[in-house]
């Protein structure tokens, strides 16, 4: 069974109701001589409805988790999940991208590791890189960062919890290092 992007969006709209803040279907034409349409569903939801949205996606098909990432946008962290639905069927895979804003005062999300074991790697990475706590995540040891990484430092944050003070030259241009002289 496969569904079109519009049908997936309708299902999500019906089950989420007001929790669905923004919605968009992005269509690209890919290919060189024979163009193919490829669609992606991008939605922005209220953080409280996250678990419900994920469960709804798991009902449609067992998805493939593309990635979890996040961005520090000042007041909030914007966390982005991307799921691939209907993989394994030629030209039919549709990405469903879920965005949600987490206020910095309450960086908590429910885990999805009970639905998909492999999401543990992604959640542990987000936890150490952005400081988002996942409720129900069992292993909390550092994954990519060293075990003796200082507490309260998160490499992807752009505020006082970021790592700008830990870095010397890697992110500066030659001009900045030499004090404005090329």
């Amino acid at each position: 069974m496969t569904l079109k992007a519009e049908e997936i969006l309708n299902i999500l709209k019906n089950s989420l109701g007001d929790a669905l803040i923004e919605q968009e279907i992005k269509t690209y034409s890919l290919g060189a001589l024979r163009k193919r349409e490829c669609s992606e569903v991008w939605i922005k939801i209220d953080r409280g409805a996250f678990r419900k949205a994920v469960e709804e996606i798991f009902k449609l098909d067992y998805p493939h988790l593309h990635f979890i990432t996040g961005e520090d946008v000042g007041e909030n962290l914007e966390v982005i999940y991307s799921f691939g639905l209907f993989h394994g069927q030629p030209g039919k895979e549709i990405s469903v991208v879920i965005k949600l804003a987490l206020p910095k005062s309450e960086l908590v999300l429910p885990t999805i590791t009970d639905l998909m074991m492999g999401a543990e790697t992604n959640e542990r990475e987000i936890r150490e890189m952005l400081g988002v706590e996942f409720e129900g995540l069992k292993k909390k040891r550092h994954l990519f960062l060293p075990d003796d990484w200082p507490e309260g430092k998160y490499p992807w944050r752009r505020d006082e919890f970021g790592v700008d003070d830990m870095i010397k030259h890697t992110h500066k241009s030659v001009k900045e290092i030499r004090g404005g002289k090329e």
Partner: protein
């Protein structure tokens, strides 16, 4: 009952691994009862660096993410950036990209076959396969000037065109690999010892492959028909109708073990050769860059707001890049890279449970791990103080192969 549980950490530095990672296993006798994997020994903060640079610099930085497949990350980078920025590469460039990506698949798969042969103790086979790998590296050097890090791709096209002499060399190479791959099938797949050593080892069921989010040949060996070239076709793959190679299509049954992983990879070399042949026969004429001037390209990037997801089927599985360009700077504001080993390493813990110590190198090697992508021997002591070093572990793996050889009655 004596205390029989021992702690065996493998890595971060170990000959079974081309790159650093640490597998911590608890064993009872020969059986493994608990596993933990520690990653991050090759974490270089490349995503962070990329977010401080402009898009063209970040593109060539992405080529350095992986030590082996240096075109997989740039491929996902250009596909994702083109989606985010609304640029379309000319058809000729799209075909050249596909040719380079498939050349890389051939060399990467042969590399893996050599490594796995070494892992089970067939060192002569390692040298023979790697001798065959030289041919494709020579062709890549002829086309791009480098054996690795080809710097061919650009957002909206490729930087170098294919000349007549390149196409001639590609055709010669195709003939060479048609024969070479046939020999590899005989040496690997028809060999009783290789079959006995890998059949049932690192066996991943279809359900488990889905649960651990496995990708690429690892998932296909488990019978999952997933391949980005087939699911979300892009560039020349959309013209060719690529189909993911799964064991049930070749031999009619799926075990999902290291033998099936070998089967899938060897048949994918055939597929890559066919794709390259199609691409050079149908190579469209025309320009190779949508925006040939880099200053113009960078100023377009600076003006554009957009998000995109780029996906490419690398030799080891899907590579996904997420981009956000915010319209204030000429580089990505957010750049997230997910490499195949990032997902495939998830399969180690369930696979190693209940396996034997001598199987660790095979289980670890079968997904073709690439730590540079994922992360971006220490002295090993068990609780008795005895040192189980990497040489011992490799010797145990070789001894098991010898034992099987004897049991099967194979003469040297």
């Amino acid at each position: 009952m004596t205390k029989s549980q021992y702690y065996i950490p493998i890595g971060p530095i170990h000959p079974a691994l081309k790159e650093p990672i640490r597998v911590e296993a608890k064993v009872e006798g020969e059986k493994i009862v608990e596993v933990d994997v520690k990653r991050g020994f090759a974490h270089r903060g490349i995503e962070y660096m990329g977010m401080k640079r402009n898009a063209i610099q970040a593109l060539y930085l992405s080529e350095r993410i992986c030590g082996i497949c240096s075109i997989s990350h740039p491929y996902a980078f250009v596909v994702g950036s083109e989606k985010a920025l609304g640029i379309e590469a000319p058809p000729r460039a799209q075909y050249i990209r596909t040719i380079i990506a498939e050349l890389e698949r051939i060399h990467s798969h042969i590399l893996w076959l050599g490594v796995v042969a070494h892992e089970v103790g067939f060192d002569s086979l390692l040298f023979w396969t790697w001798k065959g790998r030289e041919k494709v590296l020579d062709v890549l050097e002829l086309i791009s000037g480098n054996r690795i890090n080809y710097s061919m791709y650009m957002i909206g096209g490729v930087r170098r065109d294919l000349k007549e002499s390149h196409i001639k060399a590609l055709k010669e190479m195709i003939d060479y690999y048609r024969i070479f791959n046939q020999e590899m099938k005989n040496l690997f797949l028809a060999d009783p010892v290789y079959k006995a050593r890998t059949r049932g080892v690192a066996q991943l069921s279809k359900e488990m492959a889905l649960k651990v989010n496995a990708v690429g040949p690892t998932a296909r060996a488990a019978g999952l028909r997933m391949d980005i070239r087939q699911d979300i076709p892009y560039d020349a793959y959309a013209d060719i109708e690529v189909r993911g190679i799964v064991p049930q299509d070749i031999v009619g049954e799926v075990y999902g073990d290291a033998y099936d992983a070998t089967l899938v990879r060897i048949y994918e070399i055939d597929q890559s050769v066919d794709i390259i042949e199609y691409c050079i026969d149908n190579l469209p004429e025309g320009k190779i860059m949508a925006i040939p001037n880099y200053v113009v390209l960078l100023s377009k990037i600076k003006r554009t707001k957009g998000e995109g997801i780029g996906a490419h089927e690398a030799p080891r599985g899907e590579v996904i890049h997420y981009f956000k360009y915010d319209g204030t700077r000429d580089g990505p504001a957010v750049w997230k890279v997910v490499a195949p080993s990032y997902n495939n390493i998830n399969s180690w813990a369930p696979l190693l449970l209940g396996a034997e110590v001598a199987d660790i190198p095979v289980v670890v090697a079968y997904i073709d791990p690439c730590m540079c992508c994922n992360d971006r021997i220490a002295v090993v002591r068990d609780s008795s103080g005895k040192i189980v070093d990497s040489t011992t572990l490799h010797r145990m793996a070789v001894e098991k192969t010898m034992r099987i050889k004897k049991e099967l009655g194979v003469k040297e």
